[in-house]
Structures are given as structure tokens and as C-alpha cells.
């Protein structure tokens, strides 16, 4: 007890003297700099070590929280803020913080970093947060599982909708995982609202599970509980580097998005916070990203010279050049609607959706053996019922619908009402589709 108190007093003294020091000589960072991050120890430890070596006298204090908890934490403690930096993948978390005026603008001095990666701007145009590593979305699978279950190698999103993948695919809920949200939004922007949802629902009919945290998907694929997962690249790349029998592919419709860092409003140790950002963006900091346990894509193209030949390079690899332009504003305007649609039409109706999908797979198998136009027509009707949406693209970004989700000052439809409406829309359509699909199966046999 005494020890703890002494230690507490010592740290307090230290940080107090540190803040005096920063007032005296603004350019020499020292003392403790606190960062709230969603990154795992495997990422933070090597970076912490390298940073403390590069900036002697500074200690990096890492507070590990998942992205949502981190945002809530910064928000709840803003009256007496003790955090210097926020450091996480999902750009939308930074958008939320920026919107709540919880970030400080800064202009990094680091050079050699281009403005865009793929078609995505690396830094926030207003200078509130900065990309330090890039990540793309794709499909990861367990090799042993695939061999045992005779699964082919998936190449694109549509492959995951094939009958052979039934009950083998896993995804995190986009409402819970910022990275999955971007994956869904990428598909919607790449294929269009209607077609995008059709692809997503067709894949979803094959889902084994929808996990509530991003890492749940790679964890399940790593241990072989699920065969295929829709994940962000570094989950797969770092698992490979750790020796797990997994593989990864970037599908044709995807995008690279930067992982970010930003200074929290009213930071206790601003000089050291800036020093950390400069370090992350410097060549030394960028090289740390290549370590096997981290495996993220540096945003400084020059650093790739130090990486192996098989390391994906978004600046030269033609696959990345084909990637679609991602419209951040469009995504931002309909975030809540897209996430809620996914949950109400898919997550919470998964059993019904899987039931129809299974029957439709059987119809396809029967039709392959013996064509039957009537059965085909019925199956198409069922597919149309599944693909139907309660909301058009224009409605999705409409202010009325957004208001239902912001809990804002204006009266209007309550979120619960909207959700109940969508849920019953999906339930009824899936039930009708099931009937059609069963008729089709009877006709086909």
C-alpha cells in the first residue's frame, strides 16, 4: 500500500515537473505521453520501444481499449482530460471524435508521404487526424479447414455466395466493427445500393456466424472453427506470420483505408504527442510496421524497399490501382442506416435467411441435373424477395431517417419504430421466399 502511494506520488511529481519542462522549452518533449488505442500489444510494444529509443526522456503510456470504449472514454473524461493521443484503425471513430470537437488540429512535418493511397486521402483534410498505415479488406481462410471440407479458394465476394461455402463464412457485425462497416460500404459503393445489398445478402445466406468484435473473425478462422472470414488484411497477414495455416486474398471490389492517429483536445503533454506523430510518420517509425507481428502497409512508399518481395505494396501493385474510389461523405451520411439495415435484415434474421438460402442451393443443384423453367422462375422470384430492400438509396441518406438514429433535438420517428418496421419487412419477405423456394424445389425434382 505504502509502495503504491509512493509510486503514485512519484509519477504525479514526475508528470508535474514534466509539464513545467514543456512550458519552459516547448520543443524538447519529455515526460509521460498517454495514448488510448485499440491496437494489440503485438503492435504497440515494438512501436513503444522504438519511439522511446528515438525520443529519450519520453515514456509512452498505452491505454488499451476497444475503439468504441475508447471513444466513449475520451468523451466522458473531456472535462479533465488526461489523454494525449487517440490511435486506432477505423476512420469513422476519428470522424466521431472530430465532430464532438475532441481532437486538436496539427500539421505533421514528415515528408515523403503522398496525399492519397489508392483513392483514399491519407490525412484528414482539416488536419485533425493522420493516416500512418494502410489496410485493405478481403477474404481470409484456413487451409486445413478448406482441405478437410473440400472448399475451393475464394477469389471474390460473389464466390462466397456459392453453395459450396454454405455455413462456412464468418463476418463481424458492421455496427460493432468499424473495419467491417467499411467493407460493407465498399461493396455498396462499388456495386451500387441494390446490387451491393444483393451480393451481401447472398453471401449472408452462407454465414456461419456474425461476431460482435472484429478480432472474433480471425480468431475463429485461426483456430479452425470457421473456414472463411471477411477481414482486414493485417489480421490475416500477422496470423500467417505467426505460423497459422491461413491464406488471404484481396477481392476485385475493395479499397485501402488508412489507420489513424490524432491528438486529443487539450492534451496534457502536447509536445510529446506531436513527437509521437512525427515518429510514426518518419521512416524509422514506418519500418516498424513491417515487423511480422504487425504487418501493416506503410504510407511512405520508400519504406517498401525494406520489405520482402511478397509484401503487398499498394503504391505499385496493380490490384490496388484498380480499387474503387471510396466516398467518405456518402459513407458518413448513411452509417447508422447501413449498420442497422445489416443488423435487422441479416444479423437478427440469420436463421430465416440461411433457411431459404439452403433450399435455393438445393434447387440449383437439382436444376443443374435437369433444367426446369418453372422451377427456375420460382427460384428467381424467391431471390427477388430476398434481395428486396425496405429503403432506397436516397432515403438511406435522407435527413428524416438520419434523425431517427441521432437521438437529436428534433422529434420524429423513433429508432425502435424504424427497426421494427425493417425487421418485419425482412421476416415477411424471407418467409414468402421460403415458400417459393420450396415450390421451386418440388417442381425441380
Amino acid at each position: 500500500m505504502l509502495n503504491r502511494r509512493a509510486a503514485l506520488a512519484a509519477t504525479l511529481g514526475l508528470s508535474l515537473s514534466a509539464s513545467f519542462a514543456t512550458i519552459a522549452i516547448a520543443q524538447a518533449p519529455a515526460g509521460k505521453v498517454t495514448v488510448v488505442t485499440s491496437f494489440s500489444k503485438d503492435v504497440t510494444d515494438p512501436i513503444k520501444k522504438a519511439f522511446e529509443k528515438a525520443a529519450p526522456g519520453v515514456t509512452l503510456e498505452v491505454q488499451n481499449r476497444n475503439t468504441n470504449a475508447g471513444v466513449k472514454y475520451v468523451e466522458e473524461t473531456k472535462a479533465n482530460n488526461q489523454v494525449d493521443l487517440f490511435w486506432a484503425s477505423a476512420p469513422d471513430a476519428f470522424e466521431v471524435l472530430k465532430g464532438k470537437k475532441l481532437l486538436t488540429a496539427y500539421k505533421p512535418k514528415a515528408t515523403g508521404i503522398p496525399e492519397k493511397i489508392g483513392s483514399y486521402p491519407i490525412n484528414d483534410p482539416q488536419g485533425f487526424y493522420f493516416g500512418f498505415a494502410a489496410s485493405g479488406y478481403g477474404i481470409m481462410w484456413n487451409d486445413r479447414y478448406a482441405k478437410a471440407n473440400k472448399l475451393p479458394e475464394p477469389k471474390d465476394w460473389q464466390d462466397l455466395a456459392k453453395p459450396v461455402f454454405y455455413d462456412h463464412v464468418s463476418i463481424a457485425s458492421p455496427a460493432r466493427s468499424g473495419t467491417t462497416h467499411l467493407t460493407i460500404e465498399t461493396i455498396l459503393q462499388g456495386e451500387g445500393w441494390e446490387n451491393g445489398w444483393r451480393t451481401i445478402k447472398n453471401m449472408a445466406g452462407n454465414f456461419r456466424s456474425i461476431t460482435e468484435r472484429s478480432f472474433g473473425v480471425p480468431e475463429a478462422v485461426n483456430s479452425g472453427q470457421v473456414g472463411v472470414g471477411i477481414v482486414i488484411d493485417f489480421f490475416a497477414l500477422s496470423a500467417q506470420a505467426s505460423g497459422f495455416p491461413v491464406k488471404f486474398v484481396y477481392p476485385s471490389v475493395t479499397t485501402v483505408v488508412p489507420a489513424n492517429v490524432g491528438i486529443v483536445a487539450n492534451p496534457p503533454n502536447k509536445a510529446a504527442a506531436e513527437a509521437f506523430i512525427e515518429f510514426l510518420l518518419s521512416p524509422t517509425g514506418q519500418e516498424v510496421l513491417l515487423e511480422p507481428g504487425i504487418r501493416r502497409l506503410p504510407v511512405n512508399p520508400a519504406v517498401y524497399a525494406k520489405a520482402g518481395d511478397d509484401y503487398p505494396n499498394p503504391f505499385t501493385d496493380p490490384r490496388f490501382q484498380k480499387m474503387i474510389g471510396f466516398d467518405v461523405d456518402k459513407s458518413e451520411a448513411r452509417t447508422a442506416v447501413v449498420d442497422t439495415l445489416f443488423d435487422q435484415l441479416i444479423s437478427f434474421q440469420l436463421d430465416a435467411l440461411k433457411g431459404v438460402t439452403k433450399t435455393l442451393h438445393e434447387v440449383d443443384a437439382a436444376l443443374a441435373k435437369k433444367p426446369n423453367p418453372q422451377a427456375k422462375a420460382l427460384a428467381d422470384e424467391a431471390r427477388a424477395l430476398i434481395a428486396a430492400l425496405p429503403v432506397t438509396q436516397i432515403q438511406a441518406s435522407s435527413p428524416e431517417l438520419r434523425a431517427a438514429f441521432t437521438g437529436g433535438k428534433e422529434k420524429g420517428a423513433r429508432q425502435a419504430e424504424v427497426e421494427a418496421q425493417w425487421a418485419s419487412f425482412a421476416r415477411e419477405n424471407y418467409a414468402k421466399a421460403k415458400v417459393k423456394a420450396e415450390e421451386a424445389l418440388k417442381a425441380a425434382k
Binding site: R4, A7, L16, T34, S40, K41, D42, E61, Q63, N64, N66, T67, N68, A69, K72, Y73, E76, T77, A79, N80, Q82, D92, V96, R144, A148, A175, R176, G178, I210, T211, E212, F215, P218, E219, N222, S223, G224, Q225, F235, S238, A241, S242, F244, P245, P292, G293, A336, D339, S347, F405, T406, G407, E410, K411, G412, R414, Q415, A416, E419, A420
Partner: protein, 571 residues
């Protein structure tokens, strides 16, 4: 505390002494400050109208109209009830055999039977999937040998399976404490009247142990009802607690429904506790003579012994399988889609060795303090509720019990909201001190200790206290010298439950931990379990946590046994 009461015993019990009133007020103040107020700052949203923040009940109307929530409510009830049934099936033989017979290694069995309660977050889930999952060891072997698989961990039945394995120790520990408290004279009287065997157990022993059983069973029910970790790990979302959690923690959704569900959870939990209290009302479970030291322990015949040890071994093998998985995982290099890991290594322990000492120290300090606070409050509340006629005394019980139903993240946010603005003279926020974590843990685990203390006190006859007071002891002296010593077994049971579950708590802790040097083991685990390379070290840390709590539990069982022997338990 007060003068010696002069009125007749019955009349005296109707009034409360000023000391008791002060105590009740102090506890009420503590609960208001650290439970009701912080939680209220978060969940008042449930009662406000969208856009106006006027009071409304329309959100509850929405709740009862939504098919998903109604389905979730029903599923939660079903899963909780079935979990109680299965938990009883696991717990009854273990409790009965180890307390009723001369059973070698009873303390070890009690300790091992307690371990399932300590399932470290995340890594425990992974271990369980690797063992029981669709492609876990057992199913891979079954598929290989016989060509079929068993869905241990699918859907609602999976949740029931995991929950009853996880929480049956609540019944085990409370029932064992109750069985030890039964006066041997009762049993002897029944035997003299010709009762024996199963009839003796059914008509005499079990009914007398009812307070302990119900304490455990109601905890299992409420805990399963309010638990979100297990359903989420099995990807079952249509239950109430996961629904609340999913809504509360999603970014950008300022939606009252999450808090509405929290309120429903609280009401359901308190109702369940109230019903279990009703079930015991109007009956007397107290026995007077305390010299006997519990049930007579019988020697088993040879066949009984084979059967007894066999049953215990089977149950332990089933409920400890996840821990075996955890142990394997901590030594495994790569374990993926195979019955056993590819190879074994000690490297993971090497990696956590350096940093775990600070986690271990913090965990011990936090959990011990939290457990200590819990039994002090637990004894006090149980005493006030059972031994005084204070108006509204049950509210203390219900308030404390409601803590079970509050998602940890809600409590964490509430603490930040309430205490972060309060600063020490040097500007440090109150909420950033580690003592806040202790308080949050104490509040979250209070219901466990409270139920154990409550059951223990129910078994003590009030005439013993009256005797002491008639002999001139003051109320506080009576409590100190008579009540607390007689409750010792129950208090210890409560402490162990609170302590060990506090040691692996994560959800509130994750909100409140301010620096690595103040972090408990569970936080260290969380940090590791976010990456593929961290799985092994995370498992190693999980094993450390389990061993730590097991050691503490084992020591307290030895203490119980010794105190029973000291009471002159012949056999």
C-alpha cells in the same frame, strides 16, 4: 453500541436500535453513491422522450412491441431456467458426496469444482471452442471415428451447456456451506425414527439446506439472465443481455433501447430474487445446537466408494475440460483444426513472466479489497433484513442485488461520469485512482457475497442471540461473538465467490483502467487476446489467473475444514 435491552425478546425484535438505523443509513448512502447514482446518470435516457428529454414510457411500449426483444426476453428466461436445472445436476452430487461422506480429498474436489467459475475472459472462450466447438478436439475425433458431430456449442442449447458448466459452482459452494451448517441432531432424530438413505436426504437434509441451495440457484438464474459474455461468444444475439450490450456500446447510436433493456434486466433480476425470498418465507431453517459441527460423515462401502468417486471424477472431467484446453493452449505453438496442438513450447510463459507480476499484485489487492468490502456489506445487509424490522430494509437487499443486472460497461461509464469531474487537490480526477476499480468490482460482486451471508444467517436460530443478550451482551457484542462466528462458513463462501469472480472481471475494469501499472490480470489478458501472436501468451496469463484464484480458494477450504474439526466434529 446501545444499552442492554430490557424489553421482552419478541417485542425487542420489532424495533431497531439507533445503531442499526445508522448502519442501515450508512449502507444506503454507500449504495446510492456508488451504485444508484452512477447508473442513474446513464440509464435515465430510458425514460426520456426523443428530442425533448421529457419523461415518457413510450420506449417501454416500443420494447414490448418489438418481436426481436420479446423473442430475446423469452430466450433469456428459457436459458436461465434450464441452466439452473443442469447446474443443479452438476452441483448436487459434488456437494452431497463431499459433505455427507468421509471423502478423501474433499477440499481438492471443492476447489476443483469451484474453478469453472473462474473462466478468464476471451481466452477461456477460445479454449472452450478448441475443445467443444464445431471443429474442436472432441468433434474432430468423433467425426474421424464415427462420422458425426455433436453441437455442444450451438444456439440456445450451447448457451445452456456453457452457462451451467460455468456457473454451477454458485450452487456447489452455497449448498456445501448449508449442508455443513445442518445440525446433526436433526438427522439423528430422523434416523431414530427410522428414516434413512434417499428418504432421509429428500425429507430432512435437503429441505434443511434449502436456503443455501436457493441462494445458489437464484444466483445462477439471475447471473445467466444477465450474462452477456457467453451468448456473445457463441454468437447468440437474441437474448436480452447481449441486446443491451450491443446497443449500449455501438458508436453513434444515441438510442434509448439499450437502457430500456437494462431496466428490464434489473426488474427481472430483482423479481427473481424476491421470488426466491418468498419461497423461503414463513419457514424456519434455523437450528439451535451448533456443537455438532454439521452432518455426521459416513464411511462409504466399497461399491459406494467406486460409484461416488466415479461420479465425482466424471463431473469434474466435464466441467474442467475448458481449463484443460486452456492449459494445452498455453503450451501450444499452433493449434488449428486439429485435436491437439502441432507442438508444445514454454515460450508463452517466458513472454508473460516479466509483466505478469504487476498484474498479479494488482489483482490480489483489488479482488481482496472488493471481497472484503462485499462480505462486510453482505453481513450487515443480511443482518438488517433478517434480524430487524426496519422499514424498507428489503430495499437494501434489492438495491444490492440489482447490481447483478447492470452491464459492467454501464457501471464503468457511470463512474466516469460521476467521479471524473471530482478532482483531488492536485488535479487528478477521482475516477483515475485505482480505488475506483476496487469500488466498481465490489459493487458488481456484492450480490454473490450477500446471498451467501443471507443464507448463512437464515440457518442460525435467533434464540442463540437472545440467549447472549439475556446474559447481558450488547447487540454489537452479540453480532461479533455469536453471529459472525456461526456464519463463518457462509461468509467465507461469499468472500471466495466475490474474490475469485472479481479477479477475472473485465467489462467495468476496461473502462476504468488508467495505466498499465494499475491494471489487473484480466486487462492484461484482453491486451494480449487482440492478435494472433498474443493467443499463447494470453492463455499463459489465463492459467496464471486460474492458478492464483485456485490457490486462494484451496486455502480457504482448508480453513473451513479446520474450523469444522475445531468445532469438535467427530465422525
Amino acid at each position: 453500541m446501545t444499552a442492554i435491552p430490557t424489553s421482552a425478546p419478541r417485542a425487542r425484535r420489532l424495533a431497531a436500535t439507533p445503531g442499526q438505523i445508522a448502519l442501515a443509513l450508512a449502507i444506503a448512502a454507500f449504495l446510492l453513491m456508488f451504485l444508484v447514482l452512477p447508473v442513474a446518470t446513464v440509464i435515465y435516457v430510458a425514460f426520456t422522450e426523443k428530442g425533448t428529454s421529457n419523461f415518457t414510457l413510450v420506449n417501454f411500449y416500443d420494447f414490448f412491441r418489438t418481436e426481436l426483444f420479446m423473442r430475446s426476453l423469452w430466450n433469456s428466461f428459457y436459458v436461465s431456467a434450464m441452466s439452473v436445472v443442469w447446474a443443479s445436476v452438476f452441483a448436487l452430487p459434488l456437494a452431497y458426496l463431499t459433505t455427507r461422506f468421509v471423502f478423501r480429498g474433499a477440499a481438492i474436489v471443492q476447489t476443483l469444482g469451484f474453478l469453472p467459475l473462474i473462466m478468464p475472459p476471451f481466452v477461456g472462450a477460445v479454449a472452450m471452442q478448441l475443445f467443444f466447438g464445431r471443429n474442436g478436439s472432441i468433434n474432430l475425433l468423433l467425426d474421424d471415428w464415427f462420422g458425426f458431430k455433436i453441437d455442444f456449442m450451438e444456439g440456445l442449447n450451447g448457451v445452456i451447456f456453457v452457462q451451467s458448466v460455468h456457473y454451477f459452482p454458485f450452487i456447489l459452494i452455497n449448498l456445501s456451506a448449508a449442508l455443513r451448517n445442518i445440525d446433526r441432531a436433526m438427522e439423528e432424530a430422523a434416523q431414530n425414527l427410522g428414516s434413512s438413505g434417499f428418504r432421509l436426504f429428500r425429507r430432512i437434509v435437503f429441505p434443511l439446506a434449502m436456503p443455501g441451495y436457493l441462494a445458489g440457484a437464484s444466483l445462477v438464474f439471475v447471473k445467466v439472465f444477465d450474462d452477456l459474455a457467453t451468448p456473445l461468444l457463441l454468437n447468440v444475439k437474441d437474448m436480452l443481455a447481449p441486446q443491451a450490450y450491443l446497443r449500449v456500446t455501438s458508436i453513434g447510436i444515441a438510442d434509448p433501447m439499450g437502457y430500456v433493456i437494462s431496466v428490464v434486466l434489473i426488474v427481472a433480476s430483482v423479481t427473481a430474487m424476491w421470488l426466491s425470498a418468498r419461497a423461503l418465507k414463513g419457514r424456519d431453517y434455523a437450528t439451535t445446537q451448533r456443537g455438532g459441527g454439521g452432518l455426521a460423515k459416513r464411511e462409504m462401502t466399497r461399491w459406494e466408494a467406486v460409484l461416488g468417486y466415479g461420479t465425482v471424477f466424471l463431473i469434474l472431467a466435464l466441467v474442467l475440460a475448458p481449463h484443460m484446453g486452456l492449459l494445452l493452449l498455453s503450451f501450444a505453438t499452433i493449434w488449428s483444426y486439429s485435436p491437439l496442438p502441432d507442438a508444445f513450447t514454454l515460450a508463452h510463459y517466458g513472454r508473460v513472466f516479466g509483466e505478469s507480476s504487476v498484474y498479479i499484485k494488482n489483482t490480489l489487492i483489488y479482488a481482496t479489497l472488493a471481497g472484503g468490502i462485499d462480505i462486510v456489506l453482505g453481513v450487515a445487509i443480511a443482518y438488517l433484513v433478517l434480524r430487524t424490522k426496519l422499514i424498507g430494509r428489503e430495499w437494501l437487499d434489492w438495491m444490492a442485488t440489482a447490481a447483478l443486472a447492470i452491464p459492467g460497461v454501464v457501471l464503468g461509464i457511470g463512474y466516469l461520469r460521476t467521479f471524473y469531474g471530482v478532482t483531488l487537490p492536485d488535479g487528478t480526477p477521482l475516477a483515475s485512482l485505482w480505488i475506483t476499480i476496487v469500488l466498481a468490482l465490489a459493487i458488481r460482486r456484492l450480490p454473490y457475497a450477500l446471498r451467501a451471508c443471507y443464507a448463512a444467517l437464515q440457518q442460525i436460530s435467533v434464540s442463540l442471540e437472545e440467549a447472549a443478550e439475556n446474559l447481558g451482551a450488547t447487540k454489537s457484542r452479540t453480532v461479533r461473538r455469536i453471529v459472525v462466528p456461526l456464519m463463518a462458513g457462509g461468509i467465507l463462501a461469499g468472500f471466495v465467490t466475490s474474490f475469485s469472480t472479481a479477479a477475472v472481471e473485465l467489462s467495468a475494469t476496461l473502462m476504468l483502467v488508467q495505466s498499465n501499472s494499475d491494471a489487473p490480470l484480466a486487462y492484461g489478458l484482453y491486451v494480449f487476446m487482440q492478435s494472433a501472436a498474443g493467443r499463447g501468451p494470453g492463455a499463459a496469463l489465463g492459467v496464471v489467473a486460474v492458478l492464483l484464484v485456485a490457490a486462494c480458494t484451496f486455502i480457504s477450504h482448508l480453513i473451513i475444514e479446520r474450523s469444522q474439526k475445531a468445532k469438535g466434529m467427530g465422525h
